[in-house]
Assembly symmetry: C2
Homo-oligomer: 341 residues x 2
């Protein structure tokens, strides 16, 4: 078992390492932190902490560096998660509320904020749109061959879908969209299946051929709502992180994040817990062994959910990042759920 003193020494070592990025020695600790013991004592404790697996030594005769296990202990019991400042809160609120209504813009903006506040890489996904309830709907003629389908959820999120149609007349489109809205309003989008679209035909018997033409197109369009969209911001921050200054290391991470397929696996991997922290090897992806991930999920009306991920070096300010992730996650939940004050 680990003693109280060992715990305090471990905390000091990790804090110092997070500050300096240098392996920390016993003398540094005894001088910088008021533990009331000499460097020799600390040296002995450090040897024990290494044996317990909390510390590592890059090579004999250098200082110690936290192991993944060490970080884990630090994160679980030592880090204190203060709430973020009032200023930050105000900026986040003003950037995410009352400005944006298109779901993808909202996710993008959230990712941008996350990456700016943490100076790390941020990824935000959009909750699957099809669990939301339909509140408004319009078909808009864009050209002779194209129509825009605009869906609005009861939570005030807008989604644009393009339809390719060779038969477009705004007057008819208005009629069709009004009718559709009249019996689809309030329905969740995933429930808008072919059967419910077929009702269109009953209601608009005088437009039979047009409706026949429209139905398969609508079917396709609704299918496209099933994909998960993800937005990454702040990739370039990787460059500015000491750990990855050697551009070879940065490349490995870039290459990983660039491949959307990787990202998808990665997003599934990231647990669905309210908030999760994964450190180095815990992520289970070789190219990210030098990284930590802080992720959270946000809910829309308690149902469908989107994901928020911050990726950075293991040596990050966990307390700060966690508080930012939490705050943005909650704000997104509110915004997507339509709670606007």
């Amino acid at each position: 078992m680990i003693s109280e003193r060992q715990l305090r020494i471990l905390e000091a070592i990790i804090s110092d390492f997070i500050d300096t990025a240098q392996p920390v020695g016993s003398r540094t600790i005894s001088k910088k932190y008021p533990l009331g013991v000499s460097s020799a004592t600390i040296r002995n404790e450090m040897a024990d902490l290494e044996e317990l697996g909390y510390l590592e030594q890059p090579h004999t005769s250098s200082g110690r560096v936290p192991s993944d296990l060490g970080y884990r202990l630090y994160v679980d019991s030592l880090v204190n998660i203060h709430s973020i400042g009032i200023d930050e809160k105000e900026i986040i609120q003003s950037m995410l509320r009352n400005r944006i209504i298109e779901a993808s813009d909202l996710a993008k903006q959230a990712a941008k904020l996350l990456s700016e506040f943490t100076n790390l890489v941020a990824i935000v996904t959009i909750p699957k749109f099809n669990k939301c309830k339909l509140a408004n709907l319009k078909l808009i003629k864009v050209s002779d061959t194209r129509v825009l389908l605009i869906l609005v959820t009861d939570t005030g999120i807008v989604k644009n879908i393009q339809l390719a149609m060779s038969y477009t007349d705004q007057f008819i489109l208005d009629k069709v969209s009004d009718t559709m809205l009249s019996f689809l309003s309030g329905e969740t989008i995933e429930n808008i299946d072919v059967r419910s679209i077929l009702k269109l035909k009953d209601k608009l018997q005088n437009l039979g051929t047009f409706v026949d033409y429209l139905i398969p197109i609508l079917k396709d369009a609704l299918k496209s709502l099933n994909g998960t969209e993800q937005y990454a911001e702040g990739l370039s921050h990787i460059l500015f992180i000491q750990e990855f200054a050697d551009s070879e290391k940065a490349k490995v991470i870039f290459d990983f994040l660039r491949d959307a397929k990787n990202l998808e696996i990665f997003l599934d991997e990231v647990s669905a817990d309210q908030l999760s922290i994964k450190i180095g090897s815990e992520i289970g992806i070789d190219s990210l062994d030098a990284c930590s991930i802080i992720s959270s999920t946000y809910k829309v009306d308690g149902k469908s959910d989107g994901k928020i991920i911050v990726l950075g070096p293991k040596r990050m300010d966990y307390g700060n990042v966690v508080s930012i992730v939490n705050y943005i996650s909650n704000t997104l939940s509110d915004v997507f759920s339509g709670i606007n004050l």
Copy 2:
């Protein structure tokens, strides 16, 4: 004056340097390129080319490197601009046509294509929307406090603008937007000023108070169409360019490109010619001394214009990049002008 042989030697040197990124020596040239003269002769010519300012020597006793002037000569008279392949053309066509209709998505997609085909950084701006003619218009209720104004140009470009309104009823919104469309259709968007909006009041006298309320909101919204939007893609390519492998150099460029203000100056700086190539110091921006810029403008119906920029190391495949920029620029012109086949 420069001799024919010097020209051929210069061409060989620059080609080789573009391939290898290494200062090239006289022996390399005499062996790799069938010029029919010995290394000693080439050595003499190289000394002359250096005196003329076309080559530079990083240090005595290393090979030669092209100077900005050398690149300029190369670009002006040596590089051959082949057209891009049929496959590339097909991809570009399929990605830019019949899929996207929102102006910003289009620009984003174009920038993505550019950066993928060139492996360089690409920036695309949207032509000022306000020179286009209005073809369709809708006001859509999104929530109790928000309305979406959707504008469609005669060229099939869509623009969403959000309005904050505390008085929203879809029935009234429909009436207002129909009326607006009836007398604004065909008008260029910059001509839709307050005066023309005021006509609304005449036509919708029974909705007087609502129109009074709406007018200042619309005014603000239309003002927001004046800004130039720009989309950059492929920033991370900087990392993979040998010249900037030293991450300090990459940072300088990143920092420059990250600042939107810089980018604006930069976009103005970039000439309005059909196609322009600027090499190193010709750009006139210290942080980009090691870069070249290939830029082009595309027109919408011959009037308002957007910009396309590719930024990379001076040592780039000019012929290839120019052909890609040209092709995407022309395609964008067509798409924004509504020529869809």
